[in-house]
């Protein structure tokens, strides 16, 4: 671990950390990349790759099946990963409340297909927000179509924060409030406390999409007060193919199973089945074992650096980036997102640049080895709300530094030269 915590400040040295990430090495075949797309997917430190490799090399067997030693060891390590990851987000009962899924999209769908399809009927309402990722809209649109559920949306305010002024009215009579904890387009960090409070008053449950929060800040699901919480491994230095749903145990107990198959049953007869205990009831088929172990290694890595240090570093770098972009390009750049704020804003910077299409911006930046995202970021309703088809998005993580931001600013100069 190359991170160092000094006594006076939670210091983090992004350059030193970068040495842990093979893809970010200056010696990478094809050249060094300036990676500014961690909101889409982060890179992995060698510790994660090693953990998975080591597992496959020494221990792999299917879990919860064999009686032989390596199968038992595989099971133990898989279940241990569950507990580590659960503790990382403050789950009170990690061994039963942490369900592994393919990604956060599947975690949200799990709630939509089990809890919601059991509990909700025609005329019931679900409250979402205007800034949601498609992963937290489409499952509910599908349910709405199927069941005649009403969807309501917390609007986006002029300051790029959710406008909570009519919240009590919006949640009145609703059964579920499902919102992101941080926007993958605007960088807005959603203040969940008033949303949870209003939902409680209305008797609604709360699902928070933690995809853009868990990688960047300390999170405690009990403190958040939510009922369902999902996040995704690949955005928090972990592997692809694994995500997490946390929910309170009594909720999970009452929910019907999701996918059917092996693992998720206690007994199967020709005329019926008995579902397995928590959390396996929701994990049909061979689970992502190596991925769970990889994600556990990512959690250890993040804990080693310290989530407070990550948060502090990103807040500072975000303010630096916004300042540099504005002071260099003035009116030529429009940033879609809140003003820098250590609490209420994360390191996702979406912008429009001088009328140049984001595809063209990203293409020119690519020739300088700068990776940014161009497109609608799986948030088309938000794009419509912003009145754009697409944006260019630079997103920051623990391994980015001022130099990366300076490269971006210089790269935009090239865009300006070609299209300006």
């Amino acid at each position: 671990m190359s991170a160092s915590r000094t006594a006076d400040a939670l210091a983090l040295d992004p350059r030193a950390l970068r040495a842990d990430f093979p893809l970010l090495s200056p010696e990478r075949p094809g050249g060094r990349v300036v990676y500014l797309d961690s909101a889409a997917s982060a890179q992995r430190p060698r510790a994660v790759l090693d953990a998975m490799d080591e597992y496959y090399t020494t221990t792999h067997a299917n879990v919860h099946r064999g009686v032989y030693a390596i199968a038992e060891e595989a099971t133990r390590r898989y279940e241990q990963a569950r507990v580590t990851i659960g503790r990382f987000v403050g789950a009170p009962r990690p061994a039963t409340e942490i369900v592994f899924t393919k990604n956060v999209t599947e975690a949200i769908n799990l709630v939509a297909y089990t809890w919601a399809r059991k509990e909700l009927a025609k005329g019931d309402a679900i409250v979402l927000s205007e800034v949601e990722h498609h992963a937290n809209i489409v499952p509910w649109l599908m349910l709405a179509e199927e069941r005649g559920i009403e969807l309501r949306y917390i609007p986006l305010g002029a300051d790029y924060h959710l406008d909570l002024s009519d919240l009590d009215k919006l949640v009145e009579g609703a059964r579920l409030v499902s919102v992101t904890s941080a926007s993958n387009v605007l960088g807005t960090v959603v203040d969940l406390a008033p949303i949870v409070a209003a939902a409680r008053r209305a008797g609604a449950l709360v699902l928070a999409d933690g995809a853009q929060l868990v990688p960047h800040r300390p999170v405690d699901v009990s403190l958040l007060g939510v009922d369902f919480f999902g996040f995704t491994g690949h955005k928090m230095l972990g592997p692809t193919g694994i995500g997490v749903l946390w929910a309170r145990e009594e909720l999970l107990e009452a929910m019907p199973p999701f996918l059917g198959g092996g693992e998720m049953i206690r007994d199967v007869r020709l005329d019926g089945f008995t579902p397995n205990e928590l959390p396996w009831k929701f994990e049909a088929g061979t689970p992502p074992i190596a991925e769970a172990i990889g994600l556990e290694a990512a959690v250890h890595y993040l804990e080693g650096v310290g989530l407070d240090a990550v948060h502090e570093h990103e807040a500072r770098l975000t303010a630096y980036a916004i300042d540099r972009l504005r002071s260099t390009y003035g009116d030529e750049i429009t940033i879609f997102g809140p003003e820098p704020d250590p609490v209420r804003r994360a390191g996702v910077i979406s912008f429009a640049f001088g009328g140049v299409h984001p595809h063209d911006v990203a293409q020119v930046l690519d020739t300088k080895g700068i990776c940014v995202r161009a497109g609608h970021h799986c948030a088309k309703p938000l794009m419509r709300r912003l009145g754009v088809g697409a944006t260019t998005r630079a997103s920051l993580y623990l391994y980015n530094d001022e130099e990366d931001v300076d490269e971006l600013v210089r790269g935009l100069g090239e865009v300006h030269k070609l299209f300006g």
Binding site: H357, H359, D360, Q363, V364, H376, K380, G389, L418, F419
Partner: protein
């Protein structure tokens, strides 16, 4: 690695900065057809005024990147005043120029492409459209270049099936 100059030829930037046939036509009588690139959210609207199998007027609206916009602009200039058959032949030629990679990206209309057995013109006959040839070196941008052409094909199909209807 292919350089930016392969992609952003001067003529492409010219069509992007001053697009030809930009605007709308009253529909009806013109035919209006929309195309989307779900990848990037680009949208294009093609207005076609076809009289006696001749594209007497064409207008393009919508939003997109320099490649999709310039491709649409060049397309509109190339088909205006020509017959539906000529327009379709041009679509075939253009798409065959783009097809080196698009074959792998999966097209919806692979079947109809060869069916007519009509001649496919070489890049020479494509005129300034040949400037878009460099796009094939940037596979993700091929969909940008072909968006307006797929939309045109859809529009021509709709016009012909309407004409065929009793």
């Amino acid at each position: 690695m292919a350089g930016l100059e392969d992609l952003y030829r001067e003529i492409i930037l010219d069509h992007y900065r001053s697009p030809r046939n930009r605007g709308e036509l009253p529909a009806p009588p013109a035919h209006r057809v929309e195309g989307f690139n779900p990848l990037c959210g680009d949208e294009i609207v093609v207005f076609l005024d076809v009289v006696d199998r001749v594209v007497v007027d064409v207008k393009i609206s919508g939003q997109g990147c320099s490649i999709s916009q310039s491709s649409a602009s060049m397309m509109s200039a190339a088909i205006k005043g020509h017959t539906v058959e000529q327009a379709r032949a041009l679509v075939r030629s253009f798409k065959s120029m783009m097809s080196i990679h698009e074959a792998h990206l999966g097209t919806e209309d692979g079947g109809t492409e060869q069916a007519a057995g009509a001649e496919i013109l070489g890049p020479d006959s494509l005129g300034e459209l040949a400037a878009l040839q460099g796009v094939v070196k940037f596979p993700v941008r091929i969909k940008c270049a072909t968006l307006s052409w797929n939309t045109l094909t859809q529009g021509l199909d709709e016009i012909e099936s309407e004409a065929a209807a009793p």
